[in-house]
Subunit: 307 residues, 2 copies
DNA sequence: CATTTCTCATTAAATTTTTTCATGATCCAA
DNA sequence: TTGGATCATGAAAAAATTTAATGAGAAATG
């Protein structure tokens, strides 16, 4: 007798498949390997004796059977998370606070949608953004003035729990027709004699300085601007170079407003982590926040890689 | 990071737990061991950090968290089966027919509720009951005049697929104050010189004759009646003994209308199977029919044991 | 047009999860 | 208190899921 092998796992896979458009990306979203999903999907298709989707198209196309399961997933999964949140509340009086400290200027791009979703899911949790930018957000955690900090480096010495978020490429940005435009990528030396346009923050909060230029003793002329759009405007007007996350400027690149160049032969990558005091790390709403951030970033930002 | 371990399996367990009232019975309903469920439930309770139900009460009492999950199960499981039936229809033009042949008089007691549920789930399947009682229902299968037969014995020689349904006790029924009433159980010899009241069918369709009396050359005087209630009326009026499934007469026993006695030291048990042509055995609606019969019987008939 | 890259499938192996088996504890009723 | 029923638990077995490694095919790139 054939038992129903369908589990929520499969529905989660189908939903991720649709949201991400391909098996490999869905695997990344689910923290599994592509192979695992491939097996999972094959088993499902065997069980139902019907294909669930068309692999040879981007994004993949679902078959009628696949669509029906997807419809099921959409009906079920939100109710599952809702129930689990209810139970978390039942088990432990779930009315905490979440004060978020942000060190990185551009982070608000992806943080805001995540925060909106979080508010929807955890209405009882008091949510705040610790205003201003902080040189050492982890200090705020230790002093219990924030509950979660978005940081770009782990410090193993700190008594803090780090949730990995994602990795992304930092690209150098040049004006159209800039002398360096022909290069396949920029080397650290290419920055000598250039003006570097950055946010007004200390050097060690800028990956380009901390990881690339400072170690080699290179210290270009600096100019700062608060807003990404202003930095780009300055680059386009040939006032200098900038180095920013690719996802932060993707829409400008699409319009050829400025020209991106990899930094170093294999590119420069930045990482982001959510840091929180160990005592809060296993709070359901804290874990859920991280999940939301990862999901919404993965779906909204092009070219990032989940950690 | 704690991933949600909740799967449909767990919800099915919770629902079975409520429907059956105890962990062991739920295990039987799900074709698992009591131990498996015990582990499963412990893991769930660990995950949520809250008990799901109160074990030391019959039937078990659900905790708020348990109730919340149960509510989820009730919302989800019907939609899952519905979706799976839709997919079965999509995959294979799912408009078959199901003609049921029944050899056993009392079977209609449990068959009717199951058939009602089946009609609800598979409206396209044409459902019929092959009228009258048939000495050899498997013959009807072979001649393609029926698609499914309820039988009480497997015949390995037949080219037929048997789905086991359940096992039950056949008890002898005596009038109040009958000379044999004091006995803890009846032996085959006790039937010598008695009148045996049965349905009007051949001996080898009566378990009491086929398994107990005929092998020992005992052949009591016979009297027949079509209806269970008539048989019981005759027993109560001291016209003889009967031997019937306990579940078929439970309500009369509850009212002390007649007195039940085990047949033989360890009781006489009967079994029921659903037989169908091998070609139909893996049709989704056929499998589902068997599932429905097993579930509804288990929940409605007291003292049966699923096979 | 060759080459590289990306994506998915497939096999075998590793790992994890689930289930069973065997047994013990507890409770209830006779 | 004994027997019967129910549930818990630890260890072993079985099953499932997942990963690793690799190959095949399509699409993109030069």
């Amino acid at each position: 007798m054939i038992q129903s092998i369908l589990e929520l796992r499969h529905l989660r896979t189908l939903a991720a498949l649709r949201d991400s458009g391909s098996v490999s990306r869905a695997a990344e979203l689910l923290n599994l390997t592509q192979s695992a999903l491939s097996h999972q999907l094959r088993l499902l298709e065997e069980q139902y004796g019907a294909p669930l989707f068309e692999r040879k198209s981007v994004p993949i196309q679902f078959s009628p059977a696949g669509l029906r399961l997807l419809q099921l997933a959409d009906g079920l999964l939100p109710r599952v998370s809702e129930a689990e949140r209810d139970i978390a509340r039942l088990a432990q009086g779930m009315t905490g606070q979440l004060r978020i400290a942000v060190e990185c200027h551009t982070c608000f791009d992806w943080l805001m949608p995540a925060i909106d979703e979080f508010r929807r899911r955890w209405p009882e949790v008091e949510l705040d953004i610790v205003s201003g930018f902080h040189a050492d957000p982890v200090e705020l955690l230790r002093g219990r003035r924030a509950d979660l900090a978005i940081v770009s480096e782990r410090d193993a010495a700190e008594p803090v729990h780090y949730f990995p978020l994602f990795r992304f490429e930092i690209v150098a940005l040049l004006a159209q027709g800039h002398p360096l435009e022909a290069r396949p990528h920029l080397t650290p030396r290419d920055f000598i004699g250039q003006t570097l346009i950055t946010y007004p923050v200390p050097d060690d909060m800028l990956d380009i300085m901390r990881k690339v230029l400072t170690p080699r003793g290179i210290n270009p002329t600096r100019r700062t601007a608060e807003l990404t759009i202003v930095i780009l405007q300055l680059v386009a007007s040939r006032r200098g170079l900038a180095a920013l996350p690719r996802w932060a400027v993707q829409s400008y690149l699409d319009r050829d407003y400025v020209v991106p160049k990899p930094i170093g032969k294999s590119g420069l990558s930045g990482e982001l982590f959510a840091a929180c005091p160990p005592s809060l790390a296993s709070q359901p709403f804290m874990e859920d926040f991280v999940v939301i951030v990862r999901e919404s970033s993965f779906l909204n930002l092009r070219g990032i890689e989940l950690l």
